[in-house]
């Protein structure tokens, strides 16, 4: 399921240690720090390898996340808003990453633009609780989804290139 380049990307993202959800106020801060450290490292790696593809930030509590992700196709950049909540049962359950503007445009999506992660990502996450965090969800959940769906959506003419990106 995971190819060599993904494995390499994955191995350079730090694993997390703290098993803590957003309701456990005292230890959640610790988990949140680990989340940010992993994300920063991942973005740095992406920049270094010329494959920078997303930005994320969160609210103060670290329970709501939002940002942008983009995908290069035939030298054109297609950009989308990303958002998700940290579920109360995190990290046992993975965040449900959503691309709201694509809602209704592809079948591989649940209501509200939540991308379908059931097959390619959820079993991986379940096997790696609590070591995987948001950075891993981006690398193993959203990235492969974009790689499969975006070219298809472009080909079908459902999404078109916007100059201002």
């Amino acid at each position: 399921m995971v190819d060599d380049s993904t494995r390499k990307t994955l191995s350079s993202i730090p694993l997390l240690q703290m098993r803590a959800g957003p309701r456990e106020k005292d230890v959640w801060v610790q988990r949140l720090k680990e989340e940010y450290q992993a994300l920063i490292k991942y973005v740095e790696n992406n920049k270094a390898s010329g494959s920078d593809w997303f930005r994320l930030e969160s609210n103060k509590e670290g329970t709501k996340w939002f940002g942008k992700c983009w995908y290069m196709h035939n030298l054109l950049k297609y950009e989308f808003d990303v958002e998700f909540d940290i579920p109360v049962t995190y990290p046992t359950t993975a965040p449900e990453i959503a691309l709201p503007e694509l809602d209704g445009k592809t079948a591989k999506m649940y209501r509200g633009g939540k991308i379908c992660l059931t097959d390619h990502f959820k079993p991986l996450w379940a096997r790696n609780v609590p070591k995987f965090g948001i950075a891993h969800a981006m690398a193993l959940g959203l990235a492969p989804w974009l790689a499969v769906e975006v070219p298809d959506l472009i080909e079908k003419g459902i999404i078109t290139y916007k100059d201002n990106c």
Partner: protein, 406 residues
Amino acid sequence: MPSAIDELQAMIAELKAELEDQKTTNRHARDRIERMSAEVVDSNPYSRLMALQRMNIVKDYERIRDKAVAIVGVGGVGSVTADMLTRIYTFKRCGVGKLILFDYDKVELANMNRLFFTPDQAGLSKVEAAARTLSFINPDVRIETHNYNITTVDNFDKFLTTITESGIQAGQPVDLVLSCVDNFEARMTINAACNEKNLFWFESGVSENAVSGHIQFIRPGDTACFACAPPLVVAENIDERTLKREGVCAASLPTTMGITAGLLVQNALKYLLNFGEVSDYLGYNALNDFFPKMTLRPNTQCDDRHCLLRQQEFQARPKPVVEQKEEVSDEPVHASNDWGIELVSEDAPATESTSKATDSTQVTAGLRLAYEAPEKETTQATPQAAAGEAAAEVSLEDLMAQMKSM
């Protein structure tokens, strides 16, 4: 000019009255019933249900009026469940049955391959559409609706408060929670809430390929919670990959959902009215009509700390004495056995399988593990060690700022 305005106003008043009239005649096909009667007549909507009492199936059917049930997820299974419960609920003087509905979704035309909702309801929130139809079916039922996603941090607290305080009497918990949701996250959320508040609940589900379903009765501490055995266990005899169609996230069939809702409400009813035997787990495989039934015991290493607490409480509680079966005499039934016929027990110990299966997740016949659970690491024991190394000196604000400036 003023006469034209008067004319229009008169017309508006007339139309308003007409609309009001339509509303009362259509939406309330019958008035609330003051007193429940057991008489079997065509005009009594409860007579067929009260007959259960006369036939000695149920001791006191009217007890249903004291029950409040929360239904989380009003989709394919949840809406039919709510419909069934609405028809089952009865009314007598001050008490009524109560339904609390949770869902954050809207009715869509894509839902029309399911039961209950009608095309004219497209666009309405599912709880609102359901509440309208349900109070039309049975005006005696009290219906409370909650239109939000329970898995987010803010809404979870609202959800907890509702299930612990919106019972029949204000401030009391609901009598039963029925999970009719379609995703793992929501199930884990209900599980966390019911473990924390020690509420009994039924989990239900229909597989993504629409050809199997199950219900599971979860009594925190007594039976396995949803986190005790996460979806490691899958029903055998179906290769799901062969059924999954490209480009479709989930299939659904009104039949499978109706059957699952039926199994769910039947068992909820048996529990609420204390009759028959409530199944702890009942599966349904539509392809070969296989109904596995079993009891899953709690996992002593469950990840949910409230589950472990409930397990301790359950162990400490005195168990009700189980009726002893009369001893069977050892005397042979047949004095002679000319043909040497002997009976071999079907569940004779199979040595290989018992050594393989982990004792905590008792996998019964017809089931297999989808994957091995990750090995437990004692991460919780060493938070200081982990914290001390890298993160302690960096503040969260710095990290947030750093990420934002990238």
